[in-house]
């Protein structure tokens, strides 16, 4: 990436003052306009997320009544003559009072009564009165969503797949990347081309025989098909790590060699500590990939106790379609880890994605 070096353009001296002032004004306009557009656009990005969180804190009725209100608001009810009645702020003879709507009357009118003195009733236009509402946050959606389906089980499975897979990927990819970056042999060059060309291969071309293979050895409906292949390296991460290894000075390897270290020891004690930033980058991207992947868990996992969160969440939605608020709560839980990871490692994301941009 080129570093920005500002070189002043030589401008004709005559034009200088007026032209400069104009330019400054022009640049300021551009910047203000840019900020304005970005701010407007960021609303489009953020509003769905706010909508997600607010929906997860409403109950079923609130979700249907107040879709445009980001706050979980509910109508206040009062107990009157053994019935729950809606409370309204009403104005009678210029006096503001709180009254319950006891009965609807024709013509958009309603019979109102003071809960303290229910015997006196007033007939008023309902549209003119404002209902009394208060914040009613349904935190209990979260524990409920986590318990109506075995979400803890899904979480454990997802963590298992994500982290053992990550360990396997990091181990195998760094080994292979080291092999492709540090050794000369007749077939290593051609093999590297083969490795790179596998990026173009659609997953579907190999998926069916792999499924048949895993079925034969009894791995279908276990977590193994999602974990074990990670131990055999993949083209994206090998490529990224190799690019990084190439930038590590060869002198370090040679010094270790002179000290009598074997290639494997050199790899373990010299290269790996050097490659920490690159390993963190591919590790984070693997986390996101494994955490969010739906396609392979859907294909390989059949019984409920083996599902990952992605499959569990989709099935949860299919089974409890009318409980949208619970589905939204579960969705929030699922996106929290990637968001946390994202905010703690923004820099890695915005740089790393350029290289690993194709994954997933």
């Amino acid at each position: 990436m080129a570093t920005k070096t500002k070189t002043e353009a030589p401008t004709p001296a005559v034009l200088k003052t007026g032209w400069r002032a104009n330019l400054k004004y022009y640049e300021l306009t551009i910047k203000t306009l840019t900020t304005f557009i970005l701010a407007a656009g960021s609303f489009v990005v953020i509003i769905p997320l706010i909508y997600l969180v607010s929906s997860s804190l409403k109950d079923r009725a609130q979700l249907r009544q107040e879709p445009l209100n980001p706050l979980p608001i509910a109508q206040v009810m009062v107990r009157l003559n053994n019935k729950n009645e809606a409370l309204y702020n009403v104005t009678i003879d210029g006096q503001a009072r709180q009254m319950a709507l006891v009965k609807k009357a024709p013509g958009g009118k309603g019979i109102f009564a003071d809960p303290a003195a229910p015997d006196v009733t007033y007939e008023l236009l309902i549209a003119d009165q404002t209902p009394v509402r208060r914040l009613e946050v349904h935190w209990e959606n979260y524990p409920e969503a986590m318990t109506v389906v075995p979400f803890d089980r899904y979480a454990i499975n997802t963590l298992l797949v994500t982290f053992t897979g990550m360990a396997g990927m990091l181990f195998s990819c760094s080994l292979v990347a080291y092999g492709f970056s540090r050794f000369r042999a007749r077939w290593l060059g051609p093999l590297f081309i083969v490795l790179l060309s596998t990026v173009m291969l659609p997953r579907q071309v190999t998926l069916i025989p792999i499924y048949v293979l895993f079925q034969r050895i009894g791995w279908v409906d276990t977590l193994l098909p999602l974990i074990v292949p990670q131990f055999f390296a993949n083209a994206y991460d090998v490529f990224l790590l190799r690019q990084f290894f190439m930038t590590v000075p060869l002198e370090l390897d040679e010094a270790a060699k002179i000290d009598g270290a074997s290639p494997f020891q050199t790899f373990l004690h010299v290269m790996l500590p050097q490659a920490r930033p690159a390993l963190v980058t591919v590790g984070i991207f693997h986390f996101l990939y494994a955490w969010n992947d739906f396609y392979e868990p859907l294909i390989f996992l059949h019984s409920r106790e083996n599902w990952t969160m992605a499959v569990g969440l989709q099935t949860f939605n299919a089974l409890y379609a009318s409980n949208t608020h619970l589905v939204m709560a579960a969705s929030v839980v699922m996106i929290i880890p990637p968001i946390l990871l994202f905010f703690f490692s923004q820099r890695i994301f915005t740089q790393g994605v350029v290289i690993t941009g194709v994954k997933g």
Partner: protein, 313 residues
């Protein structure tokens, strides 16, 4: 007898080669077992009738012949191309426009970049479930907002005419990854090119047309090819949206979201027509190779690589 296996007797070059092969062996084994072998096997399966339980029986080119007469196969290609025709140009425009904006030296640019990138790290399942609610014809926020300005919004994901555009909108929301790639491309343009054009008196618009755009065409091309290939693997959003909207009918409503990969999945893992699905996978491979080739061939007319010009002058 074991002389050739005694490492101490090997030459240095031979030892180095052996170590190299040792290090790449995890990938090599994986390549043979999980890529090359399965590729050949799926090629073989594509010429057979195979349901996993019984042995595959050879049927020659029947699967392919049947495929080209299968209206659902053509429907799946149509849906995939419809999606690409909408999502790719729109994604290119918005992604590139955003990258241009985020490449300005404005205060807080890092925060804006973070916000725009955020949706692309989120789970496809959770995101799709959220958008299903957003697109809900009755209680969803989009139709509520449209109602405020007096528009009676469509059924979106439950309307065969609007289901693909709705999926395109979801994909545009996750534009962050594309945007970052464009941004990196923009930052890779040498500043001296801009300085030189400023000296020549080019205004901002001229600089965009004669420096930024030509320098960006390789990146635009790269994303276009990847986008096209990705649309043939498009799965999660279409699976979840169709299976939860139209009561479990994959690719619904009325097959308007029967994407190529969804139909392949259906054949392989719902009907267990492994031979037929393998034929689809190989057709997909050919499509991907052809598309890539076609775009790269035609690109010489409009893609500018910096090296080319240097070669000519």
């Amino acid at each position: 007898m074991l002389k050739q296996f005694d490492i101490r007797r090997w030459s240095l070059a031979k030892r180095e080669a052996a170590a190299g092969y040792f290090f790449v062996s995890p990938w090599l084994i994986g390549f043979v077992l999980l890529t090359l072998g399965p590729m050949l096997a799926s090629l073989y399966f594509s010429f057979t009738d195979y349901n996993i339980i019984e042995q595959p029986s050879w049927v020659g080119l029947d699967n392919y012949a049947q495929l080209f007469q299968d209206p659902l196969f053509w429907q799946s290609i149509k849906v995939t191309l419809q999606f690409s025709a909408l999502a790719l140009p729109l994604g290119l425009l918005t992604g590139f426009a955003l990258a241009l904006l985020l490449n300005q030296a404005i205060p807080g640019v890092r925060i804006w970049r973070t916000i725009y990138f955020l949706p692309s790290v989120l789970s496809g399942v959770a995101v799709t479930l959220l958008w299903i609610l957003i697109f809900n014809p009755k209680i969803g926020i989009i139709n509520q907002l449209l109602a405020l300005v007096g528009i009676d919004g469509p059924g979106w994901l439950s309307d065969p005419y609007w289901s693909v555009p709705a999926l395109v909108i979801i994909s545009l929301w996750g534009i962050g990854q594309t945007m970052i790639i464009y941004l990196a491309g923009l930052q890779g343009i040498p500043t001296d090119l801009y300085d030189a054009s400023k000296v020549d008196g080019a205004n901002a618009w001229q600089r965009f047309w004669s420096v930024t755009l030509p320098m960006m065409t390789p990146v635009l091309l790269y994303n276009l090819v990847l986008g096209l290939i990705a649309s043939f693997s498009y799965f999660t959003q279409a699976y979840i949206a169709s299976s939860s909207i139209s009561g479990g009918e994959l690719g619904g409503p009325v097959r308007s979201t029967l994407f190529y990969n969804l139909y392949l999945y259906q054949n392989a893992f719902r009907y267990f027509e492994m031979g037929y699905a393998s034929a689809m996978a190989w057709v997909l491979l050919v499509i991907v190779l052809l598309l890539t080739l076609l775009i790269f061939r035609s690109s010489s007319a409009w893609v500018y690589y910096e090296g080319e010009l240097r070669g000519r002058t």
